[in-house]
Amino acid sequence: MAIRTEPFILNMGPQHPSTHGVFRMRVTLDGEVVLDVEPVVGYLHRGIEKLAEGRTYTQNIPFTDRLDYLASMTNNLAYVLAVEKLAGIEVPERAEHLRIIMAEMMRIASHLMAVGFFLNDLGAMMTPVLYMWREREKLLDLFEMVCGQRLTYNYMRVGGVSHDIPEEFLPALRRFVAEMPGLIDEYDQFLAQNEIVLARSKGVGVLPEDLAINIAASGPVLRASGVQWDIRRGDPYSIYDRFDFDIPVGSAGDCYDRYWVRVQEMRQSVRILEQAIPQLPQGEVCAKVPQLLRPPVGEVYGRIEAPKGELGFYLVSDNSIAPYRFRIRPPTLINLTALRDMVIGWKVADLIITFGSIDVCLGEIDR
């Protein structure tokens, strides 16, 4: 005989310790069991798409920093690639290599945050976060050395990058690349085999393969569900076709696999960095591009594999100095649409870790 119970609505957020920003979930609960989730987004809306229509192509680069503020470099990259495609600009070799180095460093930094906060959502009292912040901080130091900021880099330019690297950069990066695999091993030892982590995350928040494809999920969320799809391989941009790396693929599509895929991707990024550093050619870092760029009339969709998934920019040009339409395809907003299907029937605690394992960034969702 079932006891008659009455569901109640819990309003989680926008101010909540683990909503990773200002995100709100209207959760219908039956005791601890989640019956329904309704994400409410828009608390961080700044109208970047509209703002961008009134600014020149160069002036829009700092705005892309503020989309996914944990991975500004790749946002820059996606945008400038789209503009280059639109205007047909060739990028010098050295700039291509620098872009790849920066993008992979950014991927490591972003995944460190994702993994750390996923473990924090599991309840591990800030310790993994602080360990991973230490590594991320090393990367931020390097970014700061190159472009002068730690979070909003504004480093990529249409036609290349804004500055060449200083001479101290490569030795420091080499040292980081040398010690990072050992540190990842240590993190694996720290919590990856922990019984509590396994019990909490294995089989929890499963996103089946067909559903993942149908909602157009991308990035680690898609790969954890067993789909081998990485734009760096599937639709190579920049010079990714010259590097040798694996695409880690999960099998179960649960929270643990998403965590595992991210950790493996960090290892692969380190591998790409190892290959890119010795190859780095000398030369120009930016092509000659007029300050007020006027791309020919047309439209273009440029996409890259950002740390969180497929980040795309759809640009329409009317041959003026500003884009006519500036549309962003944010990976995490689209991944977030899977949340409801993943958590129904699970407990509140699972809702939190599933949400954490998607690794959202509200700057990108609300734009």
Binding site: S18, G31, D121, L122, M125, A199, R200, K202, A349
Partner: protein, 369 residues
Amino acid sequence: MTLLEQFQLWLGSIWPEWAAYITPAIIGVVVVLGFVLTTVIIFIYLERRLLGRFQIRTGPNRLGPEGIFQPIATALKVLLKEDIVPAKADKAVHWLAPVIVFAPILLIFAVVPFGKGAIFTDLNVGIVYVVAISSLSAVGIYMAGWASSNKYALIAALRAVAQMVSYELPVILSILGVVLMVGSLSMNQIVESQSIPFILLQPLGFVIFFLGTVAEMNRCPFDLLEADSEIVAGYHTEYSGMKFALFYLGEYGHAVAYSAIIATLFLGGWQGPLLPPIIWFLIKIVAVFCFIVWMRATLPRLRVDQLMAFAWKCLLPLAVINLFIIAAEVLWLPESMPWIMVVLNFAFAGVLILLWSKLFTLGGGRVEV
């Protein structure tokens, strides 16, 4: 005879009887209160510094040498904060809850032996008294959660009741093992009969008791009541100012009290060579507490259904088996050879934990809705 009773007798010879009865009692209360409050402050400092070092930070180190005045500053800050009561709160219950959480902790110390004869009152049912008193705070936590009229607090309150009830059983059963071996319920006797600490004689009982008490004092990995990543601050979400301070004191007071009980029951209490008993006792309390902090720095928390499953499917059967093993050993093993028992029980503990770990399943827990 405890020191306090001796003092009472001596006073009785010079003072009227009622004064001789009341004065030592008041002195005792003041001493216990002072002890609890100072250790709580020291423990808060210790935990923050230790957690800092585990997390490659420094921890608070600004106020006074190495930051030792930081807990005092924290206390002052909390006391000066505005006391906010939610408009729809049940005012009386909301007010009473922190007191009910905090008071039992002081009462526990009445039967904790700090040294030979240094015990407030040597109750002949000491350990039963501890168990009875310590479960009172569950009521306080439930009141806090209910009276706040906050959904997070309510979830925490319901979790609290389930958790306390479930973990009380294995804790009591593992205490029974100790009691069987000692043959007395008095805390003093328990300490005095530990020529070999019970952690060696009953390793399994110690593990069960330790995990159970960690769960009862809501510490990691069983800190579901204040799981900040899920339900904000749990039952004290709606508390501020002095009332919050009482919860905070209560949390650490619990930690002190249970560390003291663990030290008394399993680590030989105040017994130890060379150093004076009170020092040994404090060293043991601090050691237990440091271990708890270490766990907190490392472990994530369990989910609510896994927490229940752990209590009922793992700790409870193990505690029952442990009790039977101890009973059989007390009955049939010759008392002159305790070391056989040590070896035997370690073997039993290893085998049982290995066997039970086979029941451990990963994931799952989805409910069809």
